[in-house]
């Protein structure tokens, strides 16, 4: 259907206006939000992710596509809430305490949202207590933590311990990433998984959610 393709194309090239108008046209034509999400948005963001991994798209293209996708979601989210539709499996994401780097985290958040997840982005410099509160209040399936400095990585361990102390650790899967992070470190601190790149992070989130 051409409306489906219009939205797909608009997201792929990062055209905010076209994504917005294609979404509105789709709604006006009677397409449901999940139709647009599953048939346009998710495939478009999957393709964006593939192009990013293939080093054909870079950060500007990724952010543009994410922005176009968000403009579509601005129209779809209220409709889904109004009809009681689930927004998608909930993920909490943030850069850990003491670390202000967020571009990697933003890319992962964007790609997760584009894959149909409901993403609660806590931002950067997120204290363990804030992760704990977010888990208590939002009941996510997965917590994703990012760190770009070896000196801030310990905050990942502290956050996992905080979740344990709050009796919440068993309710979530904890995934970590960031330039200095390794799978060895993930195992050492009791995280459930690690990814060295954004596409891998999205794949991992999908795997842990479908295994649940």
């Amino acid at each position: 259907m051409s409306l489906i393709k219009d939205l797909y194309d608009a997201i792929l090239v990062g055209d905010v206006k076209k994504a917005h108008s294609a979404t509105q046209s789709g709604i006006d034509a009677g397409l449901g939000p999940m139709d647009l999400i599953q048939q346009s948005m998710v495939p478009a963001m999957d393709e964006v992710g593939r192009l990013f991994e293939a080093e054909e798209y870079f950060v500007p293209e990724l952010l543009l596509a994410g922005r176009a996708m968000k403009s579509a979601m601005e129209l779809l989210r209220p409709l889904m809430i109004a009809s009681g539709q689930k927004l998608g499996t909930r993920i909490v994401i943030g850069t850990v305490k003491g670390d202000l780097h967020d571009i990697g985290k933003n890319i992962v958040a964007s790609m997760l949202e584009g894959s149909g997840f409901e993403v609660i982005d806590l931002g950067a410099d997120v204290a363990p207590e804030k992760f704990v509160s977010a888990v208590k209040e939002s009941d996510p399936r997965v917590v994703c933590m990012s760190a770009l400095l070896t000196v801030t990585m310990p905050a990942m361990r502290t956050t996992i311990r905080a979740l344990e102390s709050a009796g919440l650790r068993h309710r979530v899967k904890v995934l970590i990433g960031g330039a200095p992070v390794t799978s060895q470190y993930a195992a050492e601190i009791g995280a459930d998984g690690y990814s060295e790149n954004a596409s891998g992070a999205v794949k991992l989130v999908k795997e842990v959610c479908s295994a649940a």
Binding site: F58, P60, D99, D125, T150, V151, T182
Partner: protein, 343 residues
Amino acid sequence: MNSRERVLAMIDRCPVDRIPFMPITMMFAADRIGVKYGQYVRDYRLLVEAQLHTAERFDIDQVSCISDPAREAADLGAEVRFFDDQPPAFDESQALLVDKKTLAGLKIPDPLGGGRMHDRVKAAALLKERIGGDRIVEGWIEGPCGQAANLRGINRLMLDFIDDPAFVQDLLDFVVEMELRFARAQAEAGVELMGVGDPASSLAGPVIFRQMLMPAHKKLVDGLKAMGLRTRSHMCGSTKRILKERGELGYDIIDLDSMVPLSAARMNIPGGVLLGNVATVEVLRNGSVQDVIDAVTQCTRDAGDLYIVGAGCEVPRDTPEENMLALLEFARSHKPGAMTVVA
């Protein structure tokens, strides 16, 4: 041949007595003398002590003014968050150029105006005074994309490349002029080699790099050379898609991060002096001595004779001393020319 002569000889394609050894040490150096990093970045005297100690202990061929990316930005009035024991950082939500219109009113800070840039110039002068001609004194400035990202916020800048390239061009022009002024002050204080740190360049992609960032880098490196400086390009991350361009810019030393195969770098930059690129966390910090030796051996095989031993990026704090010594020992015991082992 002393350290300074070795580095200059490598840059000038003259024979060297052994492979030069030029890892970047910042937090690692501060830790060596028991200084918190928050003090290291704000007191040039502590930076100098740490650099001298670390260079001496590990026979590093340069002493460096590198510390953090927030000197110029701080002097411009940007909000910089300082920490007790880690590098200063920018809160993007409070970036200096959240409003693009602010650029028009920005004035290049005086590098001798008593601010953070001046602290680095003093570091350069004190390093020169203390080291004399034994080691090369390396200054540091921010590269065009990195500094633009510091001032505008990296997320915003990446979108600006597409949304408002004219603004980005104005910003890059301002940044290049500022960095050249900062470089001149460091050169006059005794710096001979200027490091240019640009962690954001690798993120924008080859098209944007060629169209917008390459001309800015070219203007910068030509300006540095006109001052008589030798130049070192440090771009964190994967620069696999812009290797040829990096080679064309004319930097004397080209650092490669660990995710860039040195074999690819050599293919695209046949005549360049390559530096790197032992993986910082996986190998240098977390690996065994043998892992380090294996990694640097492969580096030399891939890079050939025009090569300087180093890590892909900053040497992480908590890197075991024996791993750094293994890297040093490799450099000391090998020289270019089919990797002859020095007796």
